[in-house]
């Protein structure tokens, strides 16, 4: 999911959004607060728990999308107007990311908290002897809905055409009457929405913490690169492969080094196949 968000923004701006991890974090926290104050102390069951999950997803997604747009206004647009070099975008994004992490740490405390459970967590089925948690089912459903929705938006609608046009050649696109600022803002909105939803889903299982975005974001980036950056389907494929490789490597590698595995994959892919598995564009060109 996060990988799709990255790919989305990257595809249009040809730029890695370093602050994506913070959008993830904001989505997680918003979902957390909404559930905390709407559910109260009892654990809901049945239909109402589905409602609460949908509420959390929407809250996380809207907060993520909104903050992504604000981020684009503050940290990216002034630079784009000036025609700043790429390194300036990166630095500005890193600065924004650091600012957001630490203000969250300051306001929300530096200890992680677990989410209020909107459903009773128990295995609902077993496949090949492995218990399937409610959580897994929710993630699967939401992720596939999002993926298909996004795929449709990008490939069918007028907006999607605009996004792809800006991605290919923003100057020509603007000559053809595409509003670049608006298109980029919408891209950030979509990417941010996905990031926020992903943040909420992650928080459902792992709780919220100010720095919760960092590791998932790096892994998502690896997944996006693995699948071929700028390619939506590739991002999904890369995410699946990375997940499988990581869970398999748990049995071979010391758990302390589990994060190193993702990096090793990232570096190897960048060295030997920078286009990723499904990618068609070169990662190396200037």
């Amino acid at each position: 999911m996060v990988a799709i968000g990255y790919t989305m923004v990257y595809g249009v701006l040809r730029l890695i959004n370093f602050a994506h991890s913070e959008i993830f974090m904001i989505g997680g926290f918003t979902g957390f607060f909404v559930l905390k104050y709407s559910i109260g102390s009892s654990t809901p069951t049945g239909f109402s728990s589905i409602l609460f999950i949908i509420l959390g997803i929407l809250a996380g997604g809207i907060a993520g999308g909104f903050s992504a747009v604000v981020l684009e206004r503050v940290a990216y647009r002034p630079l784009r107007k000036r025609g700043a070099p790429k390194i300036a975008y990166l630095i500005s994004a890193i600065g924004a990311s650091y600012f957001l992490i630490n203000i969250a740490a300051k306001e929300f405390g530096r200890i992680g908290q677990s989410m209020v459970q909107p459903y009773i967590d128990h295995p609902i089925a077993t496949i090949f002897g492995a218990p399937i948690q409610m959580y897994t089912v929710i993630i699967l459903i939401v992720a596939s809905l999002m993926f298909f929705g996004l795929d449709r938006i990008v490939s069918v609608t007028k907006l999607g055409r605009g996004i792809r046009a800006v991605a290919q050649d923003s100057e020509t696109a603007s000559l053809m009457g595409v509003n670049i600022d608006k298109t980029i803002a919408v891209t950030f909105l979509l990417g941010g929405f996905l990031g926020g939803v992903a943040g909420f889903l992650y928080a459902l299982n792992f709780g919220v913490l100010y720095s919760m975005g960092f590791t998932p974001a790096l892994k998502a980036f690896t997944a996006a690169v693995l699948g071929g950056i700028g390619n939506l389907r590739g991002a999904v494929l890369g995410g699946l492969i990375l997940g499988v490789v990581e869970s398999l490597s748990v049995s071979f590698v010391n758990p302390a080094y589990i994060d190193v595995v993702a990096f090793a994959i990232l570096i190897l892919v960048l060295m030997f196949r920078p286009t990723g598995i499904l990618g068609e564009r070169l990662g190396r060109d200037a």
Binding site: L15, I16, F18, F33, V74, A75, P78, L79, A84, P85, K86, I87, A88, L90, I91, S92, I94, G95, A96, S97, Y98, F99, L100, I101, N102, I103, A105, K106, E107, F108, G109, R110, I111, Q113, L218, F221, V225, N254, A256, Y257, D259, V260, F263, L266, I267, L270, M271, P274, G283, R284, D285, A286
Partner: protein
């Protein structure tokens, strides 16, 4: 109207940023306190914080507005500054005054905290910033794992002096001085090893990969108990000592001798880097930074020069590692965090990418403010809040003054010529 809105948001944001910290169980207390707590407004009246900060915002924008309308005053001041900086004599006088000040500083600053901070937080960060300046400023490569080279330098020192669980290098417990060339060499080698595969990549990929490398180094330092001593850190690293014929001197706990030693090396690195900047290599870096394809077409091998920049930048970071290891007497993985890499990046950006004087100025200025905040924290300030300000500073610098406080001359020349269309 829109302006007032932006002003309002900005000043309220400042109120929240500087306000009291939140509470993990009542997450909105921080916001509430920041907005509604009563504070005194310029010592005259007491009002809730949100009003106070809005008034401050209006005052600041009024001052900016007045300065803008009185353009001739500002431009005259700028003119004066420009003529002063182009006047060779004046520059020489100013420069020697700074050198004398730097030499006399330990006699002026008596406070133990500040004497220590001058070495471990200011001088060492000047070294780190100088190194990162070669990578980011000269060659235009964004390295977010710069801390890795610093760690390599520190651990190499511990290795040479026998403070690691590993058998000491050459089987002896070497004097810490011998560790300098070894640590620098190891840091440079690790720069080359990291550089060759990663420097083929474009800027943003490079940033992420170096970020990953920095994290990997920390993970390894924390977990390889048999090699690095793990999270506990290393055993005692000895201080520097000279025993050369009649010369006998031991560096010890007092920071002042370390101060002079570091200053000497800062001077050496500054001179070496400025010579490099104006050499063939430095020009090649500039060419790569400005347009890699064009540089390649005139016969510059970008990979070679980028790796060289990595190695040379790593050398200065490696040396900073030696100084830290020797002065604090031990090395722990907790020193080498991503935050430190970003911190060094801010020093470079604030001072001016590619400008040696600017970077040194930026490092001294920011580290002094940081140390002041740690030494005399204002109400509600937590040490971790520093990174919040650092992040905000990065964005602000990029938007309003991307060339830094003291821009590099070569860079400003290119800017000037591109503005007047003489490229």
């Amino acid at each position: 109207m829109k302006f007032v809105g932006v002003l309002f948001i900005l000043s309220e944001l400042t109120a929240v940023i500087t306000g009291p910290p939140g509470n993990p169980t009542h997450q909105f207390d921080g916001f509430k306190g920041s907005i509604s707590q009563a504070t005194s407004l310029l010592g005259l009246v007491t009002a809730p914080r949100w009003i106070v900060f809005f008034v401050y915002g209006i005052l600041v924008s009024l001052i900016v507005y007045l300065l803008r309308t009185k353009k001739e005053v500002v431009s005259k001041a700028l003119e004066l500054q420009r003529s002063a900086s182009s006047n060779k004599n004046l520059r020489r006088i100013f420069f020697s005054a700074v050198v004398i000040l730097v030499v006399l500083l330990p006699t002026l600053v008596k406070d133990a905290f500040w004497q220590n901070a001058m070495v471990s937080q200011i001088a060492v960060f000047v070294l780190l910033a100088l190194g990162l300046n070669v990578v980011t400023g000269f060659a235009g490569l964004l390295d977010l794992g710069f801390v890795a080279f610093y760690a390599v330098g520190a651990y190499a020192t511990a290795w040479c002096t026998g403070a690691l669980p590993l058998p000491a290098l050459f089987g002896l417990h070497l004097n810490t001085f011998y560790a300098i060339p070894i640590a620098i060499a190891l840091a440079m080698i690790s720069g080359i090893i990291l550089g060759i595969p990663t420097l083929r990549l474009r800027g943003d990929y490079l940033a992420i990969v170096t970020l990953g490398f920095g994290e990997i180094i920390t993970v390894f330092a924390n977990n390889l108990n048999g090699v690095t001593g793990g999270a506990m850190g290393t055993a005692q690293v000895p201080h520097f000592a000279i025993h050369l014929g009649p010369l006998n001197y031991d560096w010890g706990i007092p920071p002042v001798p370390y101060y002079y030693l570091t200053i000497v090396f800062v001077g050496i690195f500054m001179i070496a880097f400025s010579l490099l900047e104006h050499s063939r290599v430095g020009r090649a870096w500039t060419a790569i930074r400005e347009d890699e394809v064009a540089a390649e077409s005139v016969g510059i091998n970008p990979l070679k020069y980028k790796v060289l920049a990595f190695a040379i930048g790593a050398a200065s970071a490696g040396f900073a590692g030696v100084m830290t290891a020797a002065q604090t007497n031990y090395v722990t993985p907790a020193t080498f965090t991503l935050g430190l890499s970003i911190n060094v990046l801010v020093l470079v950006i604030f001072g001016g990418m590619g400008s040696i004087i600017g970077v040194v100025f930026g490092a001294v200025a920011i580290q002094t403010v940081t140390m002041y905040l740690i030494h005399n924290p204002p109400a509600g300030y937590q040490p971790q809040d520093l990174y919040m300000y650092i992040g905000a500073l990065l964005v602000i610098m990029m938007i309003f003054r991307p060339a830094g406080m003291i821009p590099s001359r070569r860079r400003s020349r290119t800017h000037a010529s591109s503005v007047s269309g003489q490229e």
